[in-house]
């Protein structure tokens, strides 16, 4: 289509804007190999000293394991809680269903700074501050809406005739769920898990309100670190975080590719 050919000035403009969009993410890669004591670009010499420093930083390492445990626990709980909820939302009819769905996904609409404060005040009286249970619960508040949405869409677009076919062939309701509905939901579960994992692993604002010296997550420790000194250590951590995100996305792509293969 001739008239859709983008003119050269437009292409240059788009390229510049893309550079702007990606600059901060790209820049952390060279900076992480800086040999300098302070943040400067270009570095005066290259080294891997900041990676070494990162792996010797016990605070960061501890925070990483906390984040990882937290994200895994939150992901598993999100799926276990959201699958029955999404099934109820898509397979049953009752008064007020729409309202409940909106209520359950509403936490996404609230700014995290407000939600963080609100949770802080309530959790303080429950004694949940700076505890793993408190962090898990707070993260579930934000991951469940994502999981519910993804799974409800996935269940809603499933061919209901497959469940009906199973029933006419003699399968009881529970058998239909475990042998037809759930296997067909696999791609949705993979997508929802990845989303929940990334949201939980990267969550920083709400977590900032709930962590303390006793327990802290990696994003919160990175935030604290940058707030005090912005040296290339954070660049090294950022590179690893970006690679982790990429890894999760690739796993999803693999699984979803396979998933799509047997859905369509």
């Amino acid at each position: 289509m001739e008239i859709h050919k983008t003119s050269w000035p437009m292409r240059v403009l788009v390229l510049v804007l893309f550079l702007y969009l990606l600059a901060p993410v790209i820049l952390v890669f060279p900076i992480s190999f800086s040999g300098d004591q302070v943040l400067q670009f270009p570095p005066s010499f290259w080294s891997t000293r900041w990676y070494t420093a990162l792996f010797q930083n016990t605070v960061m390492l501890k925070a990483f394991w906390t984040s990882l445990t937290l994200a895994v626990v939150v992901t598993i709980l999100s799926i276990v809680i959201a699958v029955p909820a999404a099934w109820t939302m898509t397979r049953t009819s009752f008064f007020g269903k729409e309202f409940l769905f909106n209520l359950f996904t509403a936490p996404l609409l609230l700014p995290t700074i407000v939600l963080g404060l609100a949770i802080l005040i309530v959790f303080a009286s429950f004694g949940l501050l700076a505890t793993m249970q408190g962090l898990v619960l707070a993260h579930l508040v934000v991951t469940l809406p994502y999981a519910l949405r993804v799974l409800a869409v996935s269940l809603g677009t499933q061919d209901r005739a497959c469940e009906e076919a199973a029933r006419t062939l003699g399968a009881k309701p529970l058998t239909v769920f475990f042998r037809v509905t759930l296997p067909m939901l696999t791609p949705g579960i993979v997508a929802a898990s990845a989303l929940c994992f990334l949201v939980s692993f990267d969550e920083v604002v709400i977590t900032l309100f709930l962590t303390g010296p006793r327990i802290s997550t990696l994003p919160v420790e990175l935030y604290n670190y940058v707030f005090n000194q912005a040296d290339p250590l954070v660049a090294a951590a950022s590179v690893l975080l970006i690679l982790l995100t990429l890894g999760v996305i690739m796993i999803v792509e693999r699984a979803m590719g396979l998933g799509k293969a047997f859905v369509k």
């Binding site: 804007l17 969009l21 407000v114 005040i121 604002v205 940058v226 954070v234």
Partner: protein, 288 residues
């Protein structure tokens, strides 16, 4: 007789089953969302006492105090106005990318879309750090400006840096909203305009822009709301010298321990949200 009724699926009517299956999510929603938000509204009428204590009374003090204090009036005004400016800038820098993406096809489009979405999946701390690295005094941007002999104003710990960084951080949201809006832009409409003799620029102003206004409105709403409540970027790039609503909420809650005031500011943010949503619905109605 309608066709939908003919294929209406059989559904469970057993209410008990629904209750059991929804109980866990309802509990978490109640404990982690409804209760905290109601409590927050209540706290904005509590009294903060010396030493971080809280008196469980009902007073309008926080609200009246807020509206009488020039510091907070300026804070609110600045937050809204800076967020508006950031939203507008984000729109201007996102529109060409969205349009280009809309017109690309195949794997090139997929690749570019992934590039646009990928920053969303990267931690806000990481991206803000990237901007600090870019804009710091010995960073590439200022080094380059100095090298070519241009003025190199400090971009860290002031509103300029926050502005630049936040604009970039909001871009993916804007691009996605715009692309959703572009869905209703039929390429044949453009072709029709061109065959009828319109120049590319006239086609843009008369055809493309009007048709994509709903997407623009949605993107602006989204970005404004995110800008008003953004915390990480202003806090880290402002270095405690940029005061906005979100940073003040955090400081009041964690540093000053004045939870009633923090709650009042939070409710204020929600009121600003409501106003933005109202403005959006008015714009949308006008467009229809």
């Amino acid at each position: 007789m309608n066709a939908a009724a003919e294929t209406a699926p059989r559904t469970w009517r057993s209410g008990e089953l629904a209750i059991v299956l929804l109980l866990p999510i309802a509990l978490i929603n109640a404990i982690g969302f409804i209760l905290p938000v109601l409590n927050l509204a209540r706290y904005s009428f509590n009294q903060s006492t010396a030493g971080g204590g809280i008196a469980d009374v009902f007073t309008w003090e926080n609200w009246t105090g807020l509206l009488r204090d020039p510091f907070y009036l300026e804070l609110i005004f600045n937050s809204v106005w800076i967020s508006l400016a950031i939203t507008l800038t984000t729109l201007v820098v996102s529109y060409p990318i969205a349009l280009y993406l809309h017109r690309s096809t195949g794997s090139w489009k997929t690749f570019l879309t992934v590039l646009v979405i990928s920053p969303l999946l990267t931690s806000a701390v990481v991206r803000t750090y990237g901007w600090i690295a870019l804009l710091t005094d010995n960073g590439p941007v200022l080094s380059f400006l100095r090298y070519v002999g241009l003025p190199a104003p400090s971009l860290m710990f002031n509103i300029k840096g926050v502005f630049i960084g936040l604009t970039e951080i909001l871009m993916p949201y804007m691009i996605l909203a715009l692309m959703a809006g572009f869905g209703r832009l039929d390429p044949r409409v453009e072709e029709a305009a061109r065959t009828l003799g319109a120049t590319p620029s006239r086609t843009f102003w008369k055809i493309i822009l009007p048709l994509t206004l709903p997407g623009i409105a949605l993107g602006c709403l989204l970005c404004f709301v995110l800008a008003v409540s953004s915390f990480i970027t202003p806090k880290l790039m402002g270095g405690g010298r940029v005061f906005l609503l979100a940073t003040e909420i955090y400081d009041q809650a964690i540093v000053t321990l004045n939870w009633p005031l923090a709650s009042t500011l939070s409710i204020l943010v929600l009121i600003v949200f409501g106003a933005a949503l109202w403005a959006y619905s008015v714009v949308l109605r006008r467009l229809d």
